[in-house]
Symmetry: C2
Subunit: 222 residues, 2 copies
């Protein structure tokens, strides 16, 4: 499904070049559930942004279903809206839209508006009581759960999550990971989840560790 | 040092009243290191905002060193700038200032500008190489560490941290908690840290658990 060949992402600064990704070669098959671990600054967010098409590698190749994911920005945007669900490290919710509207918007952008489905996923993550509030009127963990619900409301082929449970207590994390894993198994969604919580490996089929922009280890686990 | 008497924080919405804090009575002595735990939505951020003076209770009383923390907004702002260091759940860094400038600004607002001290705390959290970059040019965990460095750069009497290590891997978390605990013991800083990571209790003298806006348990631990 996904093939990265010697992908590099460099930032050329005044005094130095930052090698955020320094030669990543990876294959990801459909239906895999990958946990991506690594120290702060090791390149996890950068890798997810390249996989989602939000960022473009400086060198190397990225193939999705055998087709090179490059081309102009509009093609990339269409690709992403159609195929990718993304839970961002800082959620990226629209502050002027309610919780429900934030979910509906993502559905509309991929032509799948469905109010019942939107309410259903919000209810699965425990937010049925908050659907008409704005992001500024709910807690940090509630905002994170809106971001999670939003990412699965449009049935993406590929689900990317960055620090998926960083703001959630143990009990809510477990509930949310169960909801996600079930939804992904049911719809055969491929997932790559960044986390610092090693205990989430139990929901995965494969654990990849990054260090300084390179793959340090890559193991099947389930 | 801090006394909360039956503090409530209600949000009156169209269809219901949200009781974010529902009667909190607590005393905090100088030098205590408190870990504040509780499920998502239980009132932790709201409690920190009341303690810092960023928010005002709807009912009840808040005394700091025996003086009621109310009064006009300017008095509260002076109180906070003078006494409180705060690591926000979403960091609140200024995007147009560099990492170093973000730290210097907080020092200036409390009349304690000290470039050497600013560089020292940034180095303690492993960011000496990033001081001239902007928040948008560093990773999530690096941003969190800027927020942490910023909070101790002005030697506050009271240090509040919301999800202090939510975006940090285990190794970086431990390093940062050691830096903080050492700085707080050395300067006798009182701390209240919100976290979902129960393992951080080993750095604390007391563990308070919230549930639905109330104190569920409150135990000395060290
Ligand atoms: N502006 C607001 N209007 C209405 N309700 C609010 C507002 N801000 C917060 N709340 C509600 O108050 C309650 C407590 O929120 P708070 O942010 O303190 O929780 P928290 O313990 O920090 O949660 P988390 O662990 O998810 O960050 C939640 O039910 C939240 O939805
Ligand atoms: N716009 C940018 N300009 C320069 N360097 C950058 C930029 N964005 C990221 N970096 C650097 O690239 C490296 C990787 O960043 P990335 O955000 O991918 O790390 P991460 O693994 O997600 O870290 P964390 O766990 O802290 O979120 C870091 O050293 C970071 O400082
Ligand atoms: Mg990141
Ligand atoms: Mg909170």
């Amino acid at each position: 499904m996904i093939q990265l060949n010697n992908v590099k992402r460099h930032y050329v600064m005044a005094s130095e070049t930052i090698k955020a990704l320094d030669g990543i070669t990876l294959s990801i098959q459909e239906g895999e559930r990958i946990i991506l671990l690594g120290p702060s600054g090791s390149g996890k967010t950068t890798l997810l942004n390249c996989i989602s098409g939000l960022d473009t590698p400086t060198y190397g190749e990225y193939l999705f279903d055998g087709i090179s994911v490059t081309g102009n920005s509009e093609e990339l945007t269409t690709f992403r809206r159609k195929n990718v669900g993304y839970v961002f490290q800082f959620f990226n919710l629209l502050q002027d839209l309610t919780v429900l509207e934030n979910v509906l918007l993502i559905q509309e952008l991929s032509g799948q508006r469905d109010v019942n489905r939107a309410k259903e996923v919000l209810s699965l993550v425990g937010l049925e009581g908050e659907i008409d509030r704005f992001p500024s009127e709910i807690s940090g963990g509630q905002q994170q759960r809106v971001a999670i619900a939003r990412s699965i409301a449009k049935n993406p082929k590929l689900l990317l999550g960055d620090e998926l449970t960083g703001n959630l207590d143990t009990e809510t994390s477990a509930k949310v990971m169960n909801v996600l894993t079930e939804a992904c198994q049911k719809e055969n969604i491929t997932t790559v989840m960044v986390t610092h919580d090693e205990s989430l490996a139990k929901y995965a089929t494969r654990v990849i560790r990054l260090d300084s922009g390179k793959v340090k280890s890559d193991e099947r686990v389930s």
